[in-house]
């Protein structure tokens, strides 16, 4: 019995050492490898960004590789990036779960000579070469608050359901939303900021709970793509469609039903596909040793703004989706 076990193990080991000889090597493509890492894989927003980047990378002759953590967890994301460093990509583009946590590994990448781009969510400025941002934080935050305030007539209680409480970019937008309200709409009152963690169920439960806890609540802001549809659902189910204002950030596909049935008047975002395209374009520029110029026109994206002092690129302005125009968008 023991001998049989030993033979089995021995033959297994032998096979293990011999078999791989037949396998082919993976192409290395180091010189043209463009690696894109989202905050997490598996949500539509990042899928759209990926698709745009893939298309543009192909057009520019880059090899595109997309991977990321399976949850919006900074330590997971750092592990993924650390693992990728060994492949020595030509460009690394990351949407950071946490500006501070990602900084050390990105700095390391730069030390190894890998150009680092951040997109969608920044890291600490000295940890990356350029930050490709979709919209200026201040512009976005203020605009979303204006949308809400417009529907509320500048007064009333409102609550914010955000994504993860530790997401730096979400918190930056929150900051400007609150600032806009404090400066321009002093009669509005923020009653709560709660996390929805990019999960529709959690956001849904939070919205329902807030409606219960604050009977005079008149408006919601959903600060991350999962929140607005869940909030709209909660309001719809409570029979309050049209009585409670909803503003925030989400994709047309997720909000289509609620915009069409008038539960939501307007939702804001930008085109993540374009952002992906821009990121790939900037990556290619860096490979060619070109510097992005303010006001330059990027094919498929439009005119961009470039801030050389902070190494920041801004794609454009926020895009509002309403009943009139939502039919044009398919993401």
């Amino acid at each position: 019995m023991r001998r049989r076990r030993r033979t089995r193990l021995a033959s297994f080991t032998l096979a293990a050492l011999v078999l791989p000889a037949g396998c082919s090597r993976l192409p290395r493509n180091s010189k043209t490898l463009f690696v894109m890492v989202p905050k997490l894989v598996g949500i539509p927003y990042f899928n759209s960004a990926r698709d745009g980047a893939l298309e543009e990378a192909g057009r520019l002759g880059l090899h595109f590789f997309y991977t990321g953590p399976t949850a919006a967890d900074a330590s997971l994301q750092v592990d993924v990036i650390a693992g990728l460093l060994a492949r020595h990509p030509a460009i690394l583009a990351v949407s950071c779960d946490d500006a501070n946590a990602l900084a050390p590994v990105l700095r390391r990448a730069r030390r190894y000579g890998i150009p680092v781009l951040t997109w969608d969510a920044d890291a600490q400025p000295d940890a990356r070469d350029w930050f490709v941002s979709q919209v200026e934080d201040e512009t976005l935050g203020r605009h979303v608050m204006d949308v809400l305030a417009d529907q509320l007539g500048g007064r009333g209680q409102y609550a914010i359901i955000t994504g993860s409480l530790t997401a730096s970019n979400l918190n930056a937008w929150l900051y400007w939303m609150k600032k806009e309200q404090e400066e321009k709409y002093p009669e509005m009152e923020l009653v709560a900021v709660v996390p929805g963690n990019d999960d529709q169920q959690q956001s849904f439960v939070q919205a329902q709970s807030l409606l219960q806890a604050y009977p005079s609540l008149r408006g919601f802001i959903g600060n991350s793509s999962a929140a607005p549809p869940a909030i709209a659902r909660a309001i719809e189910q409570a029979g309050l469609s049209g009585q409670i204002a909803i503003a925030g950030l989400s994709t047309p596909n997720l909000m289509r039903h609620y915009i069409e049935n008038k539960t939501v008047k307007m939702i804001t975002l930008w085109d993540p596909g374009k952002l992906g395209r821009l990121t790939a374009a900037v990556g290619a520029m860096m490979l060619r040793q070109e510097t992005p110029r303010d006001g330059m026109d990027v094919p498929g994206v439009g005119q961009i703004r470039v801030f050389p002092e902070t190494h920041k690129i801004v794609m454009g302005s926020p895009l509002d989706f309403t009943r009139e125009n939502i039919g044009q968008y398919r993401f």
């Binding site: 894989v41 598996g42 899928n47 709660v194 529709q200 219960q212 869940a230 659902r233 997720l254």
Partner: protein, 329 residues
């Protein structure tokens, strides 16, 4: 009648836990009547009942597994798989009469995978279900590629819509499930086998109960009930995503255990499970109404679970730990 091994002492001990739980609930109710009377408004109570539906259905299944001395941490993954599958098929035009049975079958099938791993391959339940959770979830997310379904078929939507004073079909389903489960557990041979096996697999084997029966029944029923829960989960939310219900199984386990089920198996009741669910959901709702910050909610929930564990502490017996599923002959 509600006993497991049949000794009168057990029965008395067992009843005591439910009374303790009921008194805890009473205390909570009184505190709320004073601090947040809005809790008892019809809208709030309706919301509470609706929030309990899915949890009750899945908890009934988890009770079976825990009674048999096992545990299942893949319930959340199963729920996600079934809800995505169901919504996708429904959106492709398949009618409810096809999709719903298919959903239940899928849940049962996934539960069967767990049962096979535990029964035939002798993998300890916690490891087996940990593995299947990762497997199911990974494959599901790979299949959906992260795309969310943001609309559900009309028939599904109507299942989840509030009708009778704010309640929806999930309440009805939960009641039916509880009644059926109670009947199965206390009036049929399979239920008795479950109790006996969970209490002592060795003794059960010696009285002729093959380990396969309780194990397969427990995990398959959990799978099927999770699938049923998924129906209402998706119906209420109106959308599904592959990462749904992450960690949901821990909430379910907490509810069942709060309800007095012994984690080592052999003891538990549906009434207790119901009270456990009620306690957890009421606590959640109460904390929200009291406008307590999110992290304090966590602390309070954790404290309640610990309190429940302390209250239901079973006297130490010479028993196998929950983590090993022995299939002796």
């Amino acid at each position: 009648m509600k006993s497991s091994s049949g000794s009168a002492w057990l029965r008395a001990n067992f009843r005591r836990h439910e009374t303790k739980l009921a008194s805890l609930l009473l205390l909570l109710g009184i505190a709320l009547a004073v601090a947040a009377p809005r809790f008892f408004s019809s809208a709030s109570l309706a919301l509470l009942v609706r929030s309990m539906g899915v949890l009750l259905i899945v908890a009934a299944g988890m009770l079976n597994v825990i009674l048999a001395g096992g545990i299942d941490v893949s319930a959340g993954a199963i729920l996600a798989v079934v809800s995505v599958l169901m919504v996708r098929l429904g959106n492709h035009g398949l009618p409810a009469s096809v999709v719903l049975p298919l959903a239940l079958l899928t849940g049962a099938g996934l539960g069967a995978v767990n049962a096979v791993l535990i029964s035939e391959f002798r993998i300890p339940p916690i490891i087996a279900t940990l593995g299947t959770a990762g497997l199911f979830r990974g494959l599901l997310l790979e299949w959906t590629q992260g795309e969310w379904e943001s609309s559900i078929p009309a028939w599904l939507n109507s299942i989840g819509s509030p009708r009778w004073g704010g309640l929806d079909a999930s309440v009805l389903a939960a009641v039916l499930v509880m009644l059926a489960a109670a009947w199965i557990l206390h009036r049929t041979q399979i239920g008795r086998a479950l109790f006996r096996f969970g209490d002592s697999p060795v003794a059960a084997a010696r009285t002729g109960i093959s380990p396969r029966q309780p194990i397969y029944f427990a995990y398959i029923s959990l799978g099927a009930l999770t699938a049923l829960g998924a129906v209402f989960y998706a119906a209420q939310l109106g959308a599904v995503q592959g990462s749904a219900a992450n960690g949901y199984e821990l909430t379910v386990i907490a509810a069942v255990v709060l309800g007095g089920a012994d984690i080592l198996g052999g003891r538990g009741s549906l009434l207790g499970t119901f009270l456990g669910v009620l306690l957890l959901c009421s606590l959640q709702q109460a904390l929200v109404l009291l406008r307590v910050a999110t992290f304090w909610q966590n602390i309070a929930t954790g404290a309640i679970v610990l309190l429940g564990v302390i209250l239901s502490a079973a006297p130490r017996r010479q028993r196998r730990l929950i983590l090993q599923q022995s299939t002796s002959a």
